[in-house]
């Protein structure tokens, strides 16, 4: 009970790990490209949570800055990923990731 009531860094890490796993499952099992991309966002967020928790643990802001960079990355990744998705959809008229099996069409 005592361990439950005092929120330590480990609590945040466990939460982050759980989110990370959810993201991994999403990436591995879903067929819809949009949801795969969302799962990647979930993974990135889990990482961010860890970074900020560590930053809190050490009292600095390095972790937070890393988190900001990760968010920047996520924005770039989402833009390019969704761009690819639209290009793909235009050619194949589907958003099913199983059908992305040709390098050229």
């Amino acid at each position: 009970m005592e361990a439950m009531l005092h929120i330590t860094t480990l609590h945040y890490l466990v939460l982050g790990a759980a989110l990370f796993l959810l993201g991994v499952i999403g990436v591995l099992t879903r067929r819809n490209v949009v949801i795969v991309l969302m799962s990647i966002e979930l993974i990135l967020n889990a990482v961010n949570l860890n970074l900020v928790a560590f930053s809190r643990l050490w009292g600095g802001v390095h972790g937070q800055i890393f988190a900001i960079f990760v968010i920047t990355d996520a924005a770039a990744e989402a833009a390019v990923g969704l761009g690819i998705l639209i290009a793909f959809f235009r050619n194949k008229e589907t958003v099913n990731i199983d059908e992305v099996h040709l390098l050229k069409w």
Partner: protein, 177 residues
């Protein structure tokens, strides 16, 4: 309690808020990967992101929380919703939700989860027990100083990355440039 002052990790009622927010995040995360309709998934993901912003506030990282809300919830998720509306989801709704390797996925994730559990149970005591106390009020200033000082180069690289991403996205999505 003596521990309280040393354990000065968060303000009042932290356990309650922490468990509430993590509950929201986990349920939201599960919804993200299980909903058939991508718009529902996106809604769940937005909930996760907002709850996470609140958790950042609990971790005394208000600037990251603000960036999270503006960029993630207000920017990236709108992009997602935009694309979901652009692509025709009528067909996707009729198809199977999960692919044929869902079993592999679950197994791999479980293995990874096991790894995490192992690390956290074994390595619990590598973290210092007491978090250092920080002042919340100058968080933004500190982030700014760091971002434009020590991490200047990384900052510029990030801006370049964004530029490349913009051009890439335009090239990908536009038929005639």
């Amino acid at each position: 309690m003596a521990v309280d002052t040393a354990f000065n990790m968060a303000p009042v009622a932290t356990p309650f808020f922490f468990y509430m927010l993590s509950g929201i995040m986990l349920i939201g995360g599960i919804l993200v990967i299980t909903r058939k309709n991508p718009v529902h998934s996106a809604l769940a993901l937005i909930t996760v992101l907002l709850a996470q912003a609140a958790i950042y506030l609990m971790l005394y990282a208000p600037f990251v929380a603000g960036v999270q809300i503006i960029l993630y919830a207000g920017g990236i998720m709108v992009l997602f919703l935009f694309v979901i509306m652009l692509v025709n989801i009528d067909r996707a709704a009729k198809e199977r939700t999960f692919n044929s390797q869902w079993l592999v996925g679950i197994v791999a994730a479980t293995a990874l989860g096991g790894l995490f559990v192992a690390v956290y149970t074994k390595g619990n005591n590598i973290f210092p027990e007491h978090a250092l106390s920080v002042i919340e009020n100058d968080n933004t200033q500190k982030v700014a100083t760091m971002l434009y000082g020590q991490y200047m180069f990384a900052f510029e690289i990030a801006s370049l990355l964004l530029l490349v991403a913009i051009i890439g996205a335009v090239v990908m999505a536009k038929k005639r440039i």
